[in-house]
Every structure is written in structure tokens, then in C-alpha cells.
């Protein structure tokens, strides 16, 4: 469904990402994990065209979308849930959701609204409340719901666990699993490796702007190399035990 080959992103002379290649198949739940500053957000921004990519190719459903403006990418079915939710705090829940569908027809809007309320009943209950009054977890649900309003084929998420209590994080991820079961393809970047690897099918490990490891999450979950990607080398000599 999505194929990224050798994508690089620079901020001025500073390289944020080098040669990132990732593929996501239809119906998959894929995560990219990495420590703070590894380049996770840069990847999503480069992918959506929020920052320009300096090299590489992005193919979505067999179309080269590398050079398309963000708006067109949304139209094709990509949608990003940004880091820190970014709901519109002074609008109510319903209005927030409507904002997510501003490119869509009335019919799609209605259908998607039903879909979102079905998945997140709490949003229906609070549809008249100001988004700024919601709890962190509810805001995250709203941010996902808002993204779903554009009827995406591929949902991109930036750090869904950020700033949320562990139990709420679990809630968010189980909702994502439900979305996957309903056929949505999901790609998220996450600092919280243990939760992402628990729920996703496949994972990539980003270290200093480069991918160093990848595989099925079942294989990655106990891999000491992941700890090293976060904490650095914990040994001096290879043979110490």
C-alpha cells in the first residue's frame, strides 16, 4: 500500500533522516520506534509533505506521491494524527469532528460520523462539550476520530501514548487494534517501544535518523538491540558477560 524508498530529510545542513525505506501492506499495523530525537516526527512530516523531503520516493497505492502537496495526499487517503493531539480546544467535539471532514461530501461525512461514534461512544456522549474540557485520553480519541472523518485508507499517528497515563495508553491502543480489525491500515511512530511492539504486527527501529533493525514485533519485543537503540551501548568489550 505504502512504499517509502531511501527518504532523506534535512533541516538546513542538519540531517534528520537518512535513507529511510519502509513498506506497509494493506491491513497491517506497523510501528516505527525510536528514542527522543531519533527522527520519528521528521519522518511523518516528510511523508505528508509538511517538511520537504530531500531525496527518496514515496509510492502510495501505486502512485508516486513524493511531490504531491499535503492536501492532495489527504484526498488520496493518508491522514495524520499529530503529536500532542492538537484538537481545537475552543470548539466542541462535534465541530472538531466536522473539521476533519471538510474535504468530504455530506454523505461520507455522515457515514464517517456514525463510524466514529460507534467506535468511540464517549465522543457521542460529549459531542456538545468543548474539546479543551476533555481529558487527555478523550482528546486522543477525538484526534483519532477527527482523522477518521476524512475516511483515510492509511492512518498515520505520531506518539499516541504521549502524556497519557498507562491505562489510558492501553485504551488508545486497543481502539487502534479495533480499527485494524475493521480493515484500516495503521502506521505509527512511538517512543514507548513496549506498548507499540505489543500491539503492532511489524516494527522498525530508528536510531539517529537511520533504521537499524526491523521485523515482526513478536521477534523484536525481547531484542536487546532495541534497548541499545534507546540507551546506547551498555558494554565496553564484546566478550564481557
Amino acid at each position: 500500500m505504502l512504499r517509502i524508498s531511501s527518504l532523506s530529510v534535512y533541516y538546513g545542513a542538519v540531517r534528520a533522516l537518512s535513507n529511510i525505506s519502509i513498506h506497509i501492506k494493506k491491513g497491517e499495523f506497523v510501528c516505527l520506534i525510536g528514542s527522543n530525537g531519533a527522527g520519528k516526527t521528521s519522518l511523518l512530516n516528510g511523508l505528508m509533505g509538511i517538511v520537504p523531503a530531500d531525496a527518496g520516493e514515496v509510492v502510495f497505492d501505486n502512485n508516486d506521491i513524493s511531490a504531491l502537496p499535503t492536501k492532495k495526499k489527504v484526498k488520496l487517503g493518508l491522514c495524520l494524527v499529530p503529536e500532542g493531539r492538537r484538537v481545537f480546544p475552543d470548539m466542541d467535539v462535534y465541530e472538531n469532528l466536522e473539521m476533519g471532514a471538510y474535504l468530504q461530501s455530506l454523505k461520507t461525512k455522515k457515514k464517517q460520523l456514525e463510524f466514529v461514534f460507534d467506535l468511540f461512544p464517549v465522543l457521542e456522549e460529549r459531542s456538545k462539550q468543548l474539546a479543551g474540557m476533555l481529558s487527555g485520553g478523550e482528546q486522543q480519541m477525538l484526534a483519532i476520530g477527527r482523522a477518521l472523518m476524512s475516511n483515510p485508507k492509511l492512518l498515520l499517528m505520531d506518539e499516541p501514548s504521549m502524556g497519557l497515563a498507562p491505562i489510558i495508553v492501553k485504551d488508545v491502543y486497543s481502539k487502534l487494534t479495533q480499527l485494524k480489525e475493521r480493515g484500516l491500515t495503521i502506521f505509527l511512530v512511538e517512543q514507548n517501544a513496549s506498548i507499540a511492539l505489543k500491539y503492532a504486527d511489524r516494527g522498525y527501529v530508528l536510531e539517529n535518523g537511520k533504521i537499524v533493525l526491523q521485523g515482526n514485533t513478536s521477534q523484536l519485543i525481547d531484542d536487546n538491540e532495541i534497548k541499545r537503540a534507546y540507551l546506547g551501548k551498555e558494554y565496553k568489550e564484546k566478550w564481557e558477560r
Binding site: N19, Y204, I211
Partner: protein
């Protein structure tokens, strides 16, 4: 035909190449970050991992050779600390130190799946009783196939090598249905069967998975006829992972390389230049998923050809021809790799042996026999029988330790072996004559 990991093995080539690119990039990134040897090598050549934008860009990277493994003996090429290593294997080196390879837990998972792929493609199912007559121990052959067969769910008999009569008893009574060994040992078994009046109807073999030495269609025909099996070839080398690099399916027309785990290239062995698909040359492999010891462009020294065809087994993986020779002087004797330089090295340890020797490789029945003629020094008089016998015994014992096989040694008088001008030709291989 049945495939063990159908999704991977039947992947469209375009998807496969994307996967290879992803894995190649992370392998090179990791090797650069975690293995001092690669960091130094690439830095000194002014090559940055970032240059690897397409699969073809790998040709800019330098080769890794067996010498590099030796220079970094024992653990220098490991990308993880020893505490993450759960298995160590080793193979004989050209001279001096052997080469050491390590596996993480995840590498062993990968390995057993790759071997399972090859076994399933060669006809093995979980109903089978797999008779493994490879040597267990430091060689990768025995353990590699062992865990692959267990992973399929077959019943594994780890017979190891030797004592052919006992092997036959086990085959008959335990009803072994799959034989795993070298092609020459398979023929040797057939020979003993003939001598013991056992026919192919008395044993229960259906398939034979043969490997670790080159063999041709003639031997296949004979093994299949005399043991009543379907025989397939498989290929691997311990530096890269062991068995599981490639193997034939029941179409018996080329060995599918497990391309999602190894990136193959064919080079001109003299210039190092990459040759186009279909041309014959030396096989070079880059590991794509090895954690413990990633290798970039490892020169296998095996000569073959790569081609992609529409295989009836459904696998889209590229095929390699049966290997047809080496680009170095390594000898394969009953599946054991032997370098003439190892013989030379042993001779240097003995005062009364000279560095003048000749190696003859012969067939004794269907097994290989290595004979070494060694000139003795003039100081050891030919009438000192006791000293001579001692030398012979000690030399044989030492050769066995270093080579891993027991050669037949013969002491010859001084100045009876040809002196060579220029490149010495010390090996006479009479097996294919």
C-alpha cells in the same frame, strides 16, 4: 508443491526488492555502527552508508573475505556483545586460526525457518523421520538441519556420521524416511547396502537432502536409484549462516536462494566487478537479517550463475546453479573443507618433515580419500624405522586435529617430489577422472 513460509517465498519481485533494500540499509547501518572492522574499512575508503540508495549501490562497498574473519578472530566481527550470543559455530580457516561465527536468539529463529523452507521444498513433512548423518559439533551442517527438521515437526534422529552398518540398522528399524548427509556418504551407504544384501525395498527412505560438497546429475541418478529416494541439493556456508542459504525444490532445477535473508551478487573473481544476471562467476552474499554477525559482500569463492525463472513450486526467489568449482584452492573432502596451506602449516611444526609435499585426492569406493606424500629431511636416516614410524604417527595425529579428517600419510625419500618453478601444483584430484 508445499512451501514453509509461502507469503515470503512467493512475494512479487518488486515487493521482495523493497524488503531487500530495507534490510540491506539497516544491515549496513548496523554494521557501521556496531562493528569496528566495518566502520574502519568504510571510513578508510571514504564510503558512507548513506550512499546506499538502491540495491545496486551495494557494489560500491568493499568485499569481506575469510581473511577478514581470521584477522578479527575470534569475536571481532560480532555486532552484539557475547552475552547476546546463544550459539557459536566454527569452521576451519585457510591457515592458523579457524573462523568463528555467532548467533543471537533471533538468528537461530531465522536459521531454523530457512532450513525448514529448504526441507519442506525438498519434500519433508512433519510425518517424516529425519535421519541426520552429518557430523554434529562445530560444523553448522548437523545442528542446522537438525533444528530445521524439528521446527517442521518431523521426528529427528541425530545419528551423526560414521559406523555405516549401525546407520543401516537404524534406518531399517527406526524407519527413517529422510536422509540428510553428503552425496558421497549417500553413495557409500548404497555401497554397504549392496555388500550387506540390503535392497532399497528393505529401507523406508523417501527423500534425501544432500549437501556440503559439489555433486552432479550422475550422482543424483545413482543415489535416487539405489536408495529409492528423491534427492535434492542444498547449499550454505557457516560464515553466512550454515545450511539454509539456498536449496532445490522438487523441480530439481536450480537452488532457490532465500533472497529475503541474503542478497546475492555474482562477480568476476579477478576484477571484483559485478556481472549481469545469468553470467557465471563467484557468488557474493550480504546477510540481510543476521544480528550477531552481519556480513557485507562476503566472497564465498564458489562459482555459480544466478537466474530467475517461473518455478513450478511457486517460489519467486532467484535460483543459483549447482556450484561448479572454487576460486581458491579449498578442497572439499567428504564434506569437510580443507586448504593445502593447512597441510603446509602442520609440516612446519615437525623438524624432520620438509615443506615438500603432494596431496592426492582419490575415491575409495564412494568416499573420498586424502593421501599426502611428505619428503623427509636428509637428517632422518631411512633406516631409523622407529623414528620414522613415530614421525608418521605424530604427523597423522596432528593433521587430523588441524584438518578435521584423517589423511593417509606416506613418507618419501628426500628430493623425490618435484620442485616447482613459479606456482606450485601440490594437489592432484583424481576423483573426477
Amino acid at each position: 508443491m508445499i512451501l514453509w513460509q509461502k507469503e515470503e517465498q512467493t512475494m512479487p519481485v518488486q515487493d521482495l526488492q523493497q524488503l531487500q533494500l530495507e534490510r540491506l540499509q539497516s544491515t549496513v547501518n548496523r554494521a557501521y555502527e556496531k562493528v569496528d572492522f566495518y566502520k574502519k574499512q568504510l571510513k578508510s575508503l571514504n564510503i558512507n552508508p548513506e550512499e546506499l540508495k538502491t540495491l545496486r549501490d551495494i557494489s560500491r562497498f568493499p568485499f569481506t573475505t575469510k581473511q577478514d574473519l581470521r584477522d578479527n578472530y575470534p569475536y571481532g566481527l560480532f555486532a552484539v556483545p557475547l552475552k547476546d550470543i546463544v550459539r557459536i559455530h566454527s569452521s576451519s580457516g585457510t591457515t592458523g586460526k579457524p573462523t568463528v561465527v555467532g548467533y543471537t536468539k533471533r538468528d537461530l529463529e531465522t536459521w531454523k525457518n530457512l532450513v525448514a523452507r529448504i526441507m519442506v521444498s525438498g519434500g519433508v513433512t512433519k510425518q517424516d523421520i529425519v535421519h541426520i548423518a552429518f557430523t554434529y559439533g562445530l560444523f553448522t551442517g548437523g545442528f542446522g538441519l537438525h533444528y530445521g527438521a524439528e521446527h517442521i515437526g518431523a521426528s529427528v534422529i541425530p545419528v551423526s556420521s560414521g559406523n555405516t552398518k549401525r546407520q543401516l540398522l537404524i534406518m531399517q528399524d527406526y524407519r527413517s524416511s529422510v536422509l540428510v548427509c553428503t552425496p558421497s556418504y549417500a553413495l557409500h551407504i548404497a555401497e554397504i547396502m549392496c555388500r550387506e544384501n540390503i535392497s532399497s525395498g528393505d529401507i523406508h527412505l523417501k527423500f534425501a537432502l544432500l549437501g556440503s560438497e559439489p555433486w552432479g546429475e550422475k550422482i543424483r541418478g545413482e543415489v535416487e536409484r539405489r536408495l529409492g529416494v528423491i534427492a535434492t541439493d542444498n547449499y550454505g556456508l557457516s560464515e553466512v549462516i550454515g545450511p539454509g542459504v539456498s536449496g532445490e525444490c522438487l523441480a530439481k532445477n536450480g537452488l532457490h536462494i532465500n533472497e529475503d535473508h541474503f542478497f546475492p551478487e555474482i562477480i568476476n573473481p579477478d576484477t571484483g566487478e559485478v556481472l549481469p544476471e545469468g553470467e557465471k562467476g563467484e557468488l557474493v552474499l550480504t546477510t540481510l537479517t543476521k544480528e550477531a554477525m552481519p556480513l557485507i559482500r562476503y566472497r564465498t569463492r564458489d562459482i555459480t550463475r544466478l537466474y530467475r525463472d517461473k518455478c513450478p513450486c511457486g517460489s519467486t526467489f532467484i535460483k543459483m546453479e549447482k556450484t561448479s568449482g572454487r576460486t581458491d584452492d579449498m578442497l572439499i573432502i567428504n564434506g569437510v573443507n580443507v586448504f593445502p596451506s593447512q597441510v603446509e602449516e602442520v609440516l612446519q611444526e615437525f623438524d624432520h618433515a620438509t615443506p615438500h609435499y603432494m596431496i592426492f585426492i582419490k575415491k575409495k569406493g564412494h568416499l573420498d580419500l586424502m593421501e599426502i606424500n611428505v619428503e623427509i629431511s636428509e637428517h632422518l636416516f631411512f633406516d631409523e624405522m622407529k623414528k620414522q614410524r613415530e614421525l608418521l604417527e605424530n604427523l597423522t595425529e596432528r593433521m587430523y586435529t588441524v584438518l578435521g579428517i584423517k589423511p593417509k600419510l606416506k613418507l618419501v625419500e628426500p628430493r623425490t617430489i618435484d620442485r616447482f618453478e613459479g606456482k606450485a601444483k601440490r594437489v592432484v584430484d583424481e576423483r573426477h577422472e
